[in-house]
Symmetry: C2
Subunit: 153 residues, 2 copies
């Protein structure tokens, strides 16, 4: 019967920030999937392609980056390979390992995909450089040190 009810909602400020972040998450995903679809790729395929555009990776490493089981990567790479965007190469150091690597065409597709991601310019364009710097610093502090795990781009 206390005047202030149960504290299931932390505080209005934190709640609003969390909701805003939720909106960012939804918009980011929508834009990413739309950009992928424009190249006839699923979200997972686009993410793997972007990953491999940086460096060839063993199947198992791809699974780790995607946080999924290795068996799933087989199919995703199969579908990318069927379109000649990716190929499997032997690893000279360990004959069990297969390295997935982008083909020249795959690299070009990954590049066009990256360029077609509007999210970078449109919403961020509303902020001045000083504001972007402030946002960067706040996000850095929020995410902590080892924040190297992006979306593949």
């Amino acid at each position: 019967m206390a005047p202030s009810s149960t504290p299931r909602t932390p505080d209005p400020l934190t709640t609003e920030v969390v909701e805003l972040i939720g909106t960012v998450v939804v918009r980011y995903h929508e834009e990413y999937d739309e950009a992928a679809a424009r190249h006839s790729l699923t979200g997972a395929q686009a993410r793997v392609l972007a990953l491999l555009a940086r460096e060839p990776l063993p199947m198992r490493r791809i699974a780790e980056r995607l946080k999924c089981e290795p068996s799933n990567v087989t199919g995703i790479v199969d579908r990318l390979a069927a379109r000649r965007l990716v190929e499997r190469r032997p690893d000279p150091d360990d004959r069990r390992v297969k390295l997935a690597a982008v083909t020249p065409e795959g690299r070009a597709t990954a590049e066009r995909l990256r360029e077609s991601l509007h999210f970078a310019r449109e919403p961020l364009g509303r902020l001045s450089p000083a504001e972007r710097t402030t946002l960067r610093d706040l996000l850095r502090r929020m995410l902590g040190e080892g924040s190297g795990e992006g979306f593949g781009e």
Copy 2:
């Protein structure tokens, strides 16, 4: 042959902010799916449950919020209904419409799900209230006015 190459990377500051946002997106989704899994729900099921915890919705409206085809909602609601978390009700105004609504048990599950979302507290806890206010204002400006489309929570 100009010294500065093609402007495919907008500028380092914007690039870093986009990468940081990508990290936020990945972490948010991971935490959301983990929280859902703790309640034996998929991400889509959890999102629909959170949506319906606010108000009953026609199947078609759910599809709009999820940005998917209405035919998909049938299955998602079927699976929630099989667990008695959601039920279908007739719409008195239009007999074509079925309103999906949470049951009392569904409401309780949605509430526990919301409480178990760590993302609100942990990373945001590293920022002072003043910093959170700054972050809120920057996100507001970035997302524009009609930013009411969150993640269902």
